[in-house]
């Protein structure tokens, strides 16, 4: 394809100014177009709760909420989210109290190594807001974008059910 003949770098692009409202706080950043939201959160805003797993949208560790919807921040360009409200795992606890999902993950021992947990919690918050999952089968299906290599899935489902106020 003709596009393969392109030079390896483009010299021109200047950093682009964007404002991200992360966990309620506005942050104005001058950012290169190729910076993913994941890298902007971790490297520029030092919010390292959001994890880089596969970096290709296959594992869900980078899941955050944008305007209340769960997305893979590794496949999102920060420059495309100017003005967006972003919630990371750091935005869940309030006034010194854990969010019900965080408490439920502890109550149900829903992790071992914990690397997938911030993505699981953000994804579960998105799932609850969507209101489409009622049964355990539906939770499993709609959480399938979040991989847990420790295999804590049964406890993750139980934690989400607790947070949903459903019977466990």
């Amino acid at each position: 394809m003709e596009s393969r003949a392109r030079p390896d770098t483009v010299s021109k692009p200047a950093a682009i100014s964007v404002t991200l409202y992360v966990n309620g706080e506005p942050s104005k950043l001058a950012i290169a177009p190729w910076t993913t939201l994941l890298d902007a959160l971790r490297d520029r805003l030092h919010l390292t709760g959001t994890k880089k797993g596969c970096d290709h949208g296959q594992c869900g560790a980078c899941t955050v909420l944008i305007d209340g919807r769960r997305v893979n921040s590794c496949l999102t360009l920060a420059v495309m989210k100017d003005g967006a409200r972003i919630t990371t795992v750091e935005g869940f606890a309030a006034d010194g109290s854990l969010h019900p999902l965080q408490q439920a993950f502890i109550d149900h021992d829903a992790f071992q190594c914990g690397y997938c947990t911030p993505g699981q919690i953000c994804s579960a918050a998105g799932l609850i807001a969507e209101g489409k999952a009622k049964t355990a089968d539906e939770i499993r299906e709609l959480m399938s974008g979040n991989i847990c290599r420790c295999g804590a899935y049964p406890n993750i489902v139980a934690a989400i059910q607790q947070a949903m106020g459903a019977k466990t």
């Binding site: 394809m1 003709e2 596009s3 393969r4 392109r6 390896d8 770098t9 483009v10 021109k12 692009p13 682009i16 290169a32 177009p33 190729w34 993913t36 970096d55 290709h56 949208g57 869900g60 899941t63 919807r69 769960r70 997305v71 893979n72 496949l75 999102t76 360009l77 420059v79 495309m80 994804s123 998105g126 799932l127 969507e130 489409k132 049964t135 089968d137 539906e138 499993r140 299906e141 709609l142 959480m143 399938s144 974008g145 979040n146």
Partner: protein, 338 residues
């Protein structure tokens, strides 16, 4: 990821103008496939033109009794839209069979059509691939080809189109509305994607500088008798080895109208009018279903690792038509196949 320039388009005309001014640019909407491919150095655009601010985000009923879906409607919103759930449940089901909820939240309707056909070698820039570098050769034909196509292949390419949504859109005979410098046109869904032939670098018939503006669903939605069955290596969040979209209109025990499309087996959603014609005016039952399956799979050719797909597809077609006829569509939450 490679470096690139970034620009925003304000409306459809502006997007077309900006693309015409820079042939090395690409449009970006959800980015779920494009950013992934850019990270693998498979796609190397000089500039991305952000079309997410274009006013193509509504789902509207048409004067003809159908539904027009804006190209930027997210996959998840489309799957859960009341009009789609009620009138085109086959489309809802197929969308929910694909990807993860995070990706469905990001991915656009138009972008789903434009995701690249799938093959591990296409993603691996260390290997020859006619789709990535025309004339370099096909690594899959004599390589590891378990996931590859068994229908409509060529000596140049045996990649498959990975979309579930598109299999349903093919069965529903959707239309693709596009706009370009020369004006607007409408493309029948079967004519949108291409077989590889000797130009596998072209996945579809969209012309340079053209942009998808909407998908139009005809009035007939087959809401009573339909099923989307996806067979894959794990129960969720995996591409299809074989998928089947089946839609029937029944008159008692007889078939008045039938639609049948396959995913995971070809460079595009696979349909054959003769297979559907063979079902018309037949009694519901495995005899008619098996005959349609044989016609739809006629000429199928397996390679070293994927010949199993032919028999798998045959059985999946019969099962899916049975589910459709019984009014018991495959659920996409519990994966039990009945």
């Amino acid at each position: 990821m490679i470096n690139f320039e970034y620009a925003r388009a304000t409306d459809v005309a502006d997007a077309i103008r900006q693309m015409a001014a820079d042939p090395a640019a690409k449009f970006i909407a959800g980015g779920t496939n494009l950013i992934d491919l850019m990270k693998y150095d498979v796609e190397r655009p000089m500039r991305l033109i952000d079309i997410t601010h274009l006013p193509l985000k509504t789902v509207d009923e048409t004067a003809g009794g159908g539904v027009r879906v804006g190209a930027l409607v997210p996959n998840s919103d489309l799957a859960y839209h009341p009009l789609i759930e009620k009138r085109y449940p086959l489309l809802s089901s197929a969308i929910l069979a694909g990807a993860s909820q995070q990706l469905r939240n990001m991915a656009s309707t138009g972008g789903n059509l434009l995701q690249r056909t799938r093959c591990f070698y296409f993603y691996d820039v260390a290997t020859p691939c006619n789709k990535r570098e025309p004339g370099s050769g096909c690594s899959a034909i004599n390589g590891i080809n378990r996931i590859n196509a068994v229908l409509g292949t060529s000596e140049s390419c045996i990649a498959t189109h990975p979309s579930d949504m598109c299999v349903a859109l093919a069965a529903l005979e959707a239309k693709v509305h596009v706009a370009g410098a020369a004006g607007e046109r409408t493309i029948a869904f079967d004519d949108f994607h291409r077989l590889p032939g000797d130009t596998p670098q072209l996945d579809n018939n969209l012309q340079p500088n053209e942009i998808i503006t909407a998908i139009e669903l005809p009035a007939r939605g087959f809401a009573g008798n339909y099923s989307y069955l996806k067979i894959r290596d794990r129960l969720s969040y995996a591409f299809a080895l074989v998928s089947v979209a089946a839609a029937l209109e029944l008159d008692g025990g007889r078939i008045k109208e039938a639609r049948l499309a396959l995913g995971g087996v070809a460079h595009k959603p696979w349909r054959r009018p003769e297979a559907e014609a063979a079902l018309r005016d037949q009694a519901v039952g495995s005899n008619a279903f098996a005959k349609a399956a044989d016609i739809l799979l006629g000429g199928a050719k397996g390679f070293a690792h994927n010949a199993f797909k032919i028999d798998l597809a045959r059985r999946a077609i019969i099962r899916t038509l049975t589910q459709a006829a019984n009014g018991t569509p495959q659920t996409q939450s519990s994966k039990k196949i009945r």
